[in-house]
Symmetry: C2
Subunit: 230 residues, 2 copies
């Protein structure tokens, strides 16, 4: 197939760490915009949000010339560019597999809606759940309706929030239904065929970074432990 988009780097040439940082920059710009800031330099952005100014400039340079000499970045412009780079300039449709506590929490997670993701369907196997809705109003379908609903709702991303022992089976069903991007919350290591992107979220990593902080500060100097970085 012909590459119709030569100017931009392909998805597999940009690391996930970079796209994660772009997401963080976008979140910071949203806050600056809401606070009424019209321009910001990489230095100020770095200082306010505990980021690295050189890294910001390097990350953004992969995608174009967004800075203006003597001004920095125009907040609204850079927001718009980042949303475009991240593919957020159109609505993406998301289905959540599993209507247990985690699935229900994710279906109603306010951050997803704020960034323009539309969570349109939950799936479960329990007949007691099928036909009901999450608190936020997302309908729960029987997993046998998967293929039909994924086509009808034009689902772009499936979120796996089922118990570990059925995660691979559910992933296979979602892939067979044509979904090309999967966000996995199960602790299992899952396999996807070529052409499908799998991203696994390991919530343990966040707790471990707090564990590290506690261990160091108990061993070290408590007076300098203050660090309100979010």
């Amino acid at each position: 197939m012909k590459n119709t988009n030569k100017a931009k780097p392909a998805a597999d040439q940009v690391s996930e760490l970079t796209t994660n940082r772009l997401s963080v920059y976008l979140r910071c710009l949203n806050l600056l915009d809401a606070a009424g800031a019209t321009t910001v330099s990489s230095q100020v952005l770095a200082e306010q949000f505990h980021l690295n100014a050189a890294q910001i400039r390097k990350d953004l340079a992969c995608f174009g010339e967004f800075g203006v000499r003597g001004v920095g970045y125009y907040v609204k412009d850079l927001k718009r560019h980042l949303r475009q780079i991240l593919g957020l300039d159109r609505q993406l449709h998301v289905a959540v597999m599993g209507a247990g506590n985690l699935g229900l929490a994710l279906a109603d997670y306010p951050g997803f809606r704020q960034e323009g993701f539309a969570i349109t369907a939950l799936f479960d196997t329990l007949s007691a759940k099928v036909g009901r809705r999450s608190r936020g109003g997302v309908p729960i379908y029987d997993i046998t309706e998967l293929g039909e609903v994924i086509k009808r709702d034009r689902i772009d991303i499936a979120v796996i929030a089922v118990p570990a022992d059925s995660a691979q089976h559910v992933l296979n069903m979602v892939v067979a239904a044509g979904v090309k991007a999967i966000l996995n919350f199960s602790p299992e290591t899952l396999d996807v065929p070529p052409g499908v992107k799998l991203k696994s979220v390991d919530l343990t990593v966040s707790l471990e970074s707090l564990s590290f902080y506690l261990a160091r500060n108990e061993a070290g100097d408590h007076e300098e432990a203050g660090d309100a970085r979010a």
Copy 2:
């Protein structure tokens, strides 16, 4: 106060990105150990788990000399060292604020237990929930019992899983009860006093990295899109 731990870098000199990577290395070593591997080189570790070999060596070098020339790393040894660096060589006690879907899901999240975190308490304000337990058996207390339970259970880390509009209030209560490390799942920007470590988890970042992948691959070359990186 005297710094009793000069050899090791203090918590605020090691970036969260580094501790996040150490967590990822530990997860990889767990998998290698379970698969029966006794040694691994930074190159093999990098190739198998799509990491960066130079980065692995650099991160580990901050904490000591773990590699053996011509061998690489002994898997069990490096696991033990990483658990020690991350403060996982003792049990940490965790309380979850909010017994809604997210709080209940986090209280029973299997990954936390696997790494040795003990989730001992959930807190809520709804009398219908207080006195009950999560599916995994974590008791739900009334928030008025917070101070008492935190002291009794020796809570090290509090997880904030309450609605955005009460997140700062609940955080203040937890800090007043003496908790020094907080994991926040609310989309609000929260303030903590000096000496308290706050880490916010933004689940939107994960969805946005999939959005980026979909946008690039629709624009670009589908044939080379296959990427099973987790």
